[in-house]
């Protein structure tokens, strides 16, 4: 009965989102408060309905109710409890329901936190959200219903794909969807504003927290996914330029551009048309990603089981929303008034450069991802565009961007002083040069490009610090005065500094790992020693062990430096019994920011194993930088200015002004 209630609430959610797709829209046109008031109430109700539905499915997983086809296909009664929870979204149907849950969650958030918005804007945003909700609820109910039943119920499930039986699955998809789907709010804001025909600086201020939240979660989701693939797949790679990865990376790039262009629009009311277009594009790329991942039109190492009918359904949704939004844009955009003017060397100019590069970078990734598909459709030729393409194009494009990063925040709005900015940055530049070459010499060897890459990474890091240094004016004022000024800076300034610092850290990690990692594949017999990254690994032998739903063969390695044992690790190969499927569990040992990565191959005749050992210098910087960016996002999000705009006519005391007073 619980399951059927869950199924029914999902159907009811379709009914409510249908109503919300129409009634508040009419209300906004007629200026009718009652009809508009339906939007927030309805959005919260739809969220509750989908939440019940999601809870029912989760319950079915936890109690192993195999009368649900979805549970039978993706769960097993002996699976550890945590994977029973995370298994809910470890498959196509369940993950679509999570997608939907997060979508309506964002609609509900707009309803709750949107009190500072004009009524018609809020109503219209929820209307557009409800269009998306309706489309995806229909998609779930008609093509991928997680509530399909089996009768009689089988006695045992088919188990969750072993690769997904990992903590990574519990964390990665929810974070990723919070990002992906979060951009739907920006899309809805853009479409709603186009419907209203009123787009100004205030609009940019209102969209900013949503962009920031989605961007922050997407950063976290991508980083988490990358780390998961790194330790779980046993290949030692952290980014493959795989279509599925690109699908999440493109919205991130476009979202980063949006974050910056919205800033220009908020301050100067310039770049209006462009910002609205970016908001539409970012979510369109999210939808495109969903299509690529679910339809199986591209070969990927990460995809779900795919189904052409689903692909067509999503393609229709994609065309409808993207096509509709662009049509609306084409119709309304010419009516927008042009904004403020600015000189090429100015904060605005720097942000335009940022947008130009990020958009072109997004386009190259898009071309690389879709080119095989287009070529096959047109000529039938099958090709693949590999990592070298992306490394070459994307890598080269990032150089001018990273070079410009520290300048941006230093330039004044409207008309900047490049010379002044340079004067403030020369210390950072000097430090970056010293640190880059220094690290290069310590690591010794490697192409000259690497030193250049390291310098660029440090340049972004020190540039971010220099920005804070000069804003607080440490160079002129006594330390304690400057410190007080520093603490008093707006939080978004810290957010910017953290994000720019983080990008530098990530670049540093990427350059270090690509240039200085070592990889060796060797046959090791018991007692043999291998060298990697200045450490020696002794292979102590194998043992067998049994887990809850797998058996494994584990190899033990002792790691020593200069004859002193410093660590040890187990690396193993598992066989999951229900599916008879093998996985590799690499042994990973962390030294500072660097890691030793040991994965087992096949046994060799006469005892011993093929062992693959990587030394990954500074690899943790890659994800560490993302974490720093994410922290920057949250700091910015907590900036009081993002909550401003509560109309005074509301009798209820809003929370925001109180917090303001406290700050």
């Amino acid at each position: 009965m619980i399951i059927e209630i869950g199924h029914y609430t999902l159907v009811l959610a379709l009914a409510t989102s249908l109503i919300l797709s129409i009634v508040p829209l009419i209300g906004a046109r007629r200026n009718d408060m009652a009809m508009m008031a339906l939007a927030p109430v309805g959005a919260i109700m739809t969220f509750l309905l989908v939440l019940i539905s999601f809870a029912a499915l989760t319950w079915a997983y936890v109690v192993s109710d195999f009368s649900l086809k979805n549970v039978w296909e993706n769960s097993h009664s002996m699976m550890p409890l945590i994977y029973k929870y995370s298994g809910v979204w470890g498959n196509h149907e369940g993950s679509m329901l999570l997608w939907l849950l997060i979508l309506v969650f964002f609609s509900a958030l707009v309803a709750v936190f949107g009190r500072n918005l004009p009524d018609s804007l809020r109503a219209n945003v929820i209307v557009v959200q409800s269009w998306i909700t309706t489309a995806f609820t229909l998609f779930i109910l008609l093509t991928s219903n997680p509530f399909a039943r089996l009768s009689p119920a089988p006695a045992e499930g088919q188990d969750l794909n072993p690769v997904l039986q990992d903590l990574g699955l519990a964390v990665h998809p929810p974070l990723l969807y919070l990002g992906y789907v979060g951009f739907s709010v920006c899309f809805s804001f853009a479409v709603a504003a186009l419907i209203d025909g009123r787009i100004d600086a205030a609009w940019a201020r209102w969209v900013r927290p949503w962009t920031l939240a989605a961007w922050t979660f997407l950063t976290a989701g991508i980083a988490m996914g990358s780390y998961w693939a790194y330790y779980e797949l046993g290949w030692g790679g952290w980014w493959f330029w795989d279509p599925v990865e690109n699908a999440s990376f493109m919205p991130w790039l476009a979202g980063t551009a949006l974050l910056h262009s919205a800033l220009v629009m908020e301050k100067r009311e310039a770049l209006k048309i462009w910002t609205v277009l970016l908001a539409i594009m970012t979510f369109s790329l999210s939808l495109l990603g969903t299509f690529l991942v679910r339809s199986g039109v591209l070969t990927s190492v990460h995809a779900f089981a795919t189904d052409p009918t689903r692909g067509i359904f999503i393609l229709v949704i994609l065309m409808l929303f993207v096509g509709g939004a662009f049509a609306l844009f084409a119709w309304r955009a010419p009516m927008l008034k042009a904004g403020g003017l600015f000189a090429p060397i100015s904060r605005e100019g720097a942000l335009v450069l940022n947008n130009l590069i990020l958009t072109v970078a997004t386009a190259t990734v898009l071309i690389g991802t879709l080119y095989p598909l287009v070529l096959e459709t047109l000529t039938g030729e099958k090709i693949s565009v590999g990592a070298p393409f992306f490394d070459m194009t994307f890598g080269l494009l990032m150089i001018p961007l990273l070079f410009a990063v520290p300048f941006g925040p230093m330039l004044a709005w409207k008309r900047g002083d490049l010379l002044g900015a340079m004067q403030r940055l020369y210390v950072a530049a000097g430090l970056a040069l010293v640190a880059g070459f220094g690290l290069y010499y310590i690591q010794n060897g490697g192409p000259v490009m690497a030193a250049f890459g390291l310098i660029i990474g440090f340049w972004a890091m020190f540039g971010a610090l220099a920005d804070l240094w000069h804003r607080a004016n440490f160079s002129k004022l006594p330390f304690n005065v400057a410190w007080r000024r520093l603490v008093g800076l707006p939080r978004s300034t810290f957010g910017t500094a953290f994000a720019h610092f983080g990008i530098g850290v990530t670049v540093l990690g990427v350059v270090m790992v690509t240039t200085f990692e070592t990889e060796s594949v060797i046959e090791m017999k018991q007692g043999m020693t291998a060298e990697a990254g200045g450490y020696s690994l002794v292979f102590d032998g194998m043992r067998e062990s049994i887990g809850p739903n797998f058996t494994e063969e584990q190899g033990h390695f002792t790691i020593s430096k200069g004859g002193v044992a410093v660590a040890d690790t187990w690396s193993s190969k598992r066989i999951y019994t229900a599916r008879g499927m093998p996985t590799t569990e690499a042994g990973i040992v962390t030294f500072g920011f660097s890691q030793l990565y040991v994965s087992l191959g096949d046994p060799i005749a006469g005892g011993g194993m093929v062992v693959r050992i990587w030394w990954k210098p500074f690899i943790l910087c890659i994800w560490g930088g993302c974490v720093i960016m994410m922290i920057g996002g949250f700091i910015s999000l907590s900036d009081r200015r993002l909550r401003v705009g509560a109309p005074t006519r509301k009798a209820k005391p809003a929370k925001a002004p109180k917090l303001e007073a406290a700050e």
Partner: protein
């Protein structure tokens, strides 16, 4: 410079940046695109040694041999033709005889054998790489029933 000239300069700058990017993309595409072949395609078309391609098909039964060190040799077949492949490194977990596989690499000029540097078999045991599935369907080695079973 007048305001108009300034504007033109900015637009020209942006355009030339985009133009540079387009040229870069075209250059990169011409450099790093790998064509996909099935063994019987290779019988029809000559691929010069050193050209990077993707070779897909089924791992022929009984063909996997572990040689010196961690080098493995096996054959990729599509039912009519077979191509011997050698690969140094650790094979993916799901690499099995009779299963679908995609290898990437080039033909060696001296030995005429295919030397792969990447071997892909997917996470999902039901998985058949799309290109391989399409290729096998054309040859009638892959039934729809099997495909439905993966759902």
């Amino acid at each position: 410079m007048t305001r108009k000239q300034k504007r033109l300069a900015i637009i020209a700058g942006g355009m030339s940046f985009i133009l540079a990017a387009v040229l870069l993309v075209m250059f990169a595409l011409s450099q790093s695109v790998a064509y996909f072949f099935m063994p019987s395609d290779l019988a029809k078309t000559e691929v010069s040694p050193g050209t990077r391609i993707r070779l897909g098909g089924l791992v022929a039964e009984g063909s996997v041999k572990r040689g010196e060190g961690s080098t493995v040799t096996f054959s990729v077949t599509d039912g009519s033709e077979t191509v011997p492949v050698s690969y140094t490194g650790i094979l993916p977990d799901l690499f099995r005889e009779g299963q679908g596989v995609v290898t990437e690499g080039a033909f060696d000029a001296a030995t005429r054998g295919f030397v792969a540097d990447t071997v892909l078999a997917k996470h999902d045991e039901n998985y058949m790489p799309k290109e391989v599935a399409d290729g096998l369907k054309e040859k009638g080695m892959w039934q729809h029933g099997e495909e439905a079973a993966t759902q």
